[in-house]
Amino acid sequence: MFRAVAFTLALFTMTTLPGMAQGWHYVGGDGNAVELDAVPQRIIASQDAAAGLIPLGIRPVGIYADSAVADAKALQGLDLAGIEIIGQAWGEVDIEKAAALEPDLIVAEYWPLESTWSGGDDVVSALAPLAPVTGPEQGASILTLIEDYEALAQSLGADLAAPSIAAEKSAFQAALAEFKAATAAKPDLTALAVWAGADALYVAATAGSSELMDFANWGLDLIDPEVADDRGYWEILSWENADKYQPDLIMVDNRSDATMQTAMAQPTWTLMKAAQAGQVADWPAFWLRNYRVYASELAKLTAAIKAADADLAP
């Protein structure tokens, strides 16, 4: 009965809008197809989907985030004027605000490991009665994810050939070419991605994050930790063992500035030769969703690779 109400409601909100002649079809990251009679106009997006879509010219009417918007790294630098924020804490979404927005579509990212959508089950099951939920799947590459957003945006009516959008893409491609050239020029350079806390140094497994897999694909020799923890994301090193790996370049998670400061405050941080030599760069961990930020993060990394002494580590 609940489902039936939801379904009729979804139909109802759709038919009240000025419908377009052609229908809309999209296969989401969960493998399910969404069929609508018209191209959806009013979109509610998760924070990551918004970060993927807005730079491509698709502006959602509402965004739900799992943190205060000011704290949401993925949304930084985006123009959110006029977009209703309907959630700023994990698991909390203002369902009434969402209903008042009369959405045609909810766009989120599919998380294959948890088999749910970004924001978690509670949020998605609250929003699902309003409109179908779909979106790309998080996978082995941020670049692929951005390309998935391009396809989605195009189907939603975005003009990817518009000068500003095309320029961002070509700037990214240039940055990527530079990055590949830099890694090719230093085949012996090794890198290590870390998160630093006062208690321990967390060494990231490449397979645990999409952008690290991208970097590895593009020629960066990332050191993989020997023993990953139970979930396969990290090896956790006591600060007594901070020199277990000796990379030429250390990449520090830059979701928060605090991480770098914490790392540098540890007496044994400089047991790593790269830290001693200042060969430390940012790791844009988990938050890249569009060409613009990807290009700027890649450029910073390229500069760090070029400046690094590749023969630091034995």
Partner: protein
């Protein structure tokens, strides 16, 4: 609501003297054990360092030797902080349980941990603070402020700060503070990411600076706490009896509370909110030393750092190349022992 009554065992003069000698000997043995444990703490860690190198690091420090740096920069400070924090937590717990006559009283229930945590959370979220050394003053101020509020709320009224009112006011203030903490953590993953490590309670990453910052407070707090032993013995007979023998109940509670907040605040500032030690060690001390706070306090002061430092040593070696935080090991090591004690002996009520 019923409050536990003390257990007064009648003893003869001679019996009392013999018991005192036995208890003093026990204290001496505990002190020796603690000293040995401190040495073990210097020699043990996630990285295996041969004993002669540990010794060399202590007597002939070479700043270029990796192993010397580890002993000197990591193990020595955390051993010192562990000793100080352990003693402070044990004393604070015993004093609070005595002052409130509630076996559940500990810094986490009387608002001290919550106050310290809120101050740290605000510092991270609003002021962008990230370093342990900058947390120290915040945590201390937060702990002091919240305990002050708890005590003033509980003191309103003719009967002053009764144990029940203290416990309820403490829990209420804790709840208010945690509401604010949770609201911040839920909307700011950046803060959550920092604070989730701090609030476990850990000795890792603590520097000599931190030890020096909190040392004066711990010293003053410890002296004050030990000085309240007689007052706590009076309070344990119940407010009416204490009043009848001429004790100023409100003043006694105030002094004990002051000692506890200085100790617990400083230890939380140094190592984060470690809940278990202050709660349970006094019960163990009471089981060994009997009902008098003149013995419970020094026993708690020695037993608690043994638990804390022992747990830290274990935490360093069970998860190599990583570590397990001391707050976690104390609970997993201490709780089963504590529960076994509760079952086997008839733990003295207070």
């Amino acid at each position: 609501m019923l409050i536990w009554r003390p257990d007064h065992r009648p003893t003869s003069e001679g019996g009392r003297a013999r018991a005192a000698a036995r208890l003093a000997l026990g204290l001496l043995l505990l002190a020796l054990a603690l000293f040995a444990l401190a040495l073990i703490s210097l020699a043990t860690g996630a990285r295996a360092i041969p004993l002669e190198n540990v010794w060399a690091a202590l007597v002939a420090f070479d700043p270029n030797a990796t192993e010397h740096r580890i002993v000197w920069d990591l193990r020595l400070p955390r051993t010192i902080v562990g000793l100080m924090v352990g003693a402070a937590l044990g004393l604070a717990g015993a004093v609070l349980q005595g002052a409130t006559r509630n076996p559940l009283a500990d810094p986490s229930i009387l608002g001290i941990h919550a106050g310290a945590s809120l101050a740290v959370v605000l510092g991270v979220a609003l002021l962008g603070m990230t370093q342990l050394s900058s947390y120290v003053w915040l945590a201390f101020a937060g702990a002091g402020l919240s305990m002050l509020v708890v005590y003033s709320v509980a003191s309103v009224g003719r009967d002053g700060a009764t144990p029940v009112k203290l416990a309820l006011a403490g829990a209420a203030i804790t709840a208010v503070l945690y509401a604010i903490i949770n609201a911040i953590l839920l909307t700011s993953p950046r803060t959550l990411d920092e604070v989730r490590f701090w609030q476990v309670g850990s000795l890792s990453g603590r520097t000599v600076d931190i030890a020096l910052q909190v040392a004066p407070f711990l010293l003053i707090g410890a002296l004050l706490a030990l000085a309240t032993a007689r007052l706590l013995d009076g309070l344990s007979m119940g407010d009416d009896v204490a009043r009848a023998i001429g004790q100023r109940v409100g003043l006694s509670r105030g002094l004990a509370g002051l000692a506890a907040v200085v100790l617990a605040g400083a230890s939380t500032a140094a190592a984060g909110p470690i809940a278990f030690v202050g709660l349970t060690v006094p019960h163990v001390a009471r089981a060994i030393a009997g009902p008098s706070y003149r013995w419970i306090l020094p026993y708690s002061m020695l037993l608690a750092p043994i638990l804390l430092l022992g747990a830290d040593v274990i935490g360093r070696v069970i998860a190599t190349p990583g570590e397990v935080q001391v707050g976690i090991v104390t609970a997993f090591l201490g709780a089963p022992v504590f529960m076994a004690l509760v079952r086997r002996r008839k733990l003295a009520a207070l």
